[in-house]
């Protein structure tokens, strides 16, 4: 343990093209890009379907398939397939294959939670808004989306945890990121390196998760108006897993 900390606090482990610094920034870049891409593609579709009230089976199926298909298998399949060759800019070795797998695995939580969030908006509130003359875009923007926001953001948070974990595994298939440090440690039976890499990966995961949870708290318009809605947000987290 103390050796792992010594490894983490040694400036030499952070420098260089395969140092912790380069690997950390690569993995953060990959995670953020994949998450933004998945949100940009998945959120509009899921929110729109939720607004229309159609495609419930789609949301359920996407989340079931996402759970059954191993991230590791998809990483391997894509990296051995046509996407796997070469360096992809700042994303490094096999970066394209990694990025595509990360986007794929960000979809299920984002799509499912956004859809369920929209469908769980109180029907009576929607009816009241319709009765007040709200239609389409206004109903969506001023009533449905603000009420669905906690669950939508929960989906983004779950996706980010998933993407960060998968980005770590990417190293096993020649991808970039901090997994390389852990894998190198395994290959050389260097426990300090294995443990040090693991500690850093876990710490960043917790920090990212905490930051998004905080952002979701700040962004929730209902929570700002009424503290009671916190109960709803917490109970909603369990929905995708059941």
């Amino acid at each position: 343990m103390s050796e792992a900390l010594r490894f983490l606090f040694d400036p030499a482990s952070w420098s260089g093209p395969s140092g912790l610094g380069a690997e950390l920034s690569q993995q953060l870049l990959l995670t953020v890009t994949a998450l933004l891409l998945a949100c940009a593609i998945g959120l509009p579709v899921a929110l729109w379907l939720g607004h229309l009230g159609r495609g419930g089976a789609l949301a359920v199926n996407i989340s079931n398939v996402g759970r059954a298909v191993p991230t590791f298998a998809v990483l391997v399949l894509l990296s051995v397939g046509p996407l796997g060759t070469g360096v992809f800019g700042a994303y490094g070795r096999a970066g394209l294959a990694t990025l595509v797998s990360l986007v794929l695995f960000a979809f299920p939580p984002i799509v499912t939670n956004a859809y369920v969030g929209m469908r769980e908006v109180d029907r009576e509130v929607v009816e009241a808004a319709t009765g007040m003359g709200m239609r389409g875009r206004e109903l969506f923007g001023r009533v449905e989306l603000p009420l669905a926001l906690p669950l939508v953001l929960t989906g983004v948070r779950l996706a980010m945890v998933q993407v960060w974990a998968t980005a770590t595994i990417a190293a096993l298939v020649a991808g970039p990121g901090l997994g390389n440090t852990i894998q190198l440690g395994f290959e050389n039976q260097d426990v300090a390196r294995v443990l040090g890499g693991g500690i850093l990966v876990a710490l960043v995961a917790l920090v990212l998760e905490g930051a998004l949870a905080l952002a979701a708290r700040v962004a929730d318009p209902v929570r700002r108006a009424r503290s009671r809605s916190g109960v709803k947000a917490v109970s909603a987290v369990a929905t995708p897993t059941s």
Partner: protein, 237 residues
């Protein structure tokens, strides 16, 4: 298999479709020639998955019941298991390696901790879904707290608990592959060795078997649930 043996003699001079020269994704020869290797990996995969989920369940049940009985512990248990879930699998295995070394135990403990999160939440949700009238009726009939739990609450919570068990099992099948980093990943070992040699037939076969295994276990658990809760079928129809 018979068809294959009929074709083989004529094609004896050709390299098999899984050789590096051909390296096709779909290859019947690979399945027949390497079936034992696939079978061994599949058996290891099943054993690791079942052991992990069983250990997760053995830990989750008392934790969930404890959280139910002592509300002050509930937040601690639920948020503690959520933090566990946030830790990436590769990091989790690396934490366990100094304690349990490169053994299947490392993989099983790591995966059990993940299934713990899903199971604790769903067991709690299941216990919460028990109607208050049922609990009151049991109390009124003089049930002891233990008997009420085992005879009334657990059976009524079973559908939600089983849903959680299915999710945990399917996720564990997928995550077991990452155990390849310590050498015990079941089909994941074939994926990891395949990626080094670009062995396409092996990679595809292992991936498909993984998904099939998840589906088979999911269906088996669904069937078990129907057998265990005959009353839900009547109500569902």
């Amino acid at each position: 298999m018979n068809l294959h043996s009929l074709v083989a003699p004529g094609a004896a001079s050709d390299p098999p479709c899984y050789s590096l020269a051909v390296n096709s994704w779909l290859c019947g020869d690979y399945l027949t020639d390497r079936w034992e290797q696939l079978q061994d990996a599949l058996v290891e995969h099943v054993l690791i998955t079942l052991a992990s989920v069983a250990l997760g369940l053995a830990l989750a049940l008392p934790l969930a019941i404890l959280a139910r009985q002592v509300p002050r512990l509930e937040t601690l248990i639920v948020s503690g298991s959520t933090i566990l879930y946030t830790i990436p699998s590769l990091a989790m295995f690396s934490f366990l390696v100094p304690i349990t070394f490169l053994t299947p135990t490392t993989v099983i403990i790591g995966l059990a901790l993940y299934s713990l999160t899903i199971l604790v939440r769903n067991i709690l949700a299941g216990l919460r879904s028990v109607p208050a009238e049922a609990i009151e009726a049991a109390d009124g009939s003089g049930y002891s707290p233990w008997r009420r739990l085992t005879r009334i609450e657990m059976p009524l919570a079973l559908p939600v608990m089983m849903a959680g068990l299915r999710v945990a099992t399917v996720s564990t099948v997928a995550l077991t592959t990452v155990g390849a980093i310590v050498g015990y990943g079941g089909l994941g070992n074939l994926l990891l060795s395949g990626v080094g040699t670009q062995f396409k037939a092996q990679i595809l076969a292992a991936s498909v078997l993984c998904v099939l295994l998840a589906v088979v276990l999911d269906v088996a658990l669904m069937g078990t649930q129907r057998l265990l809760t005959p009353w839900t079928r009547v109500r569902g129809a």
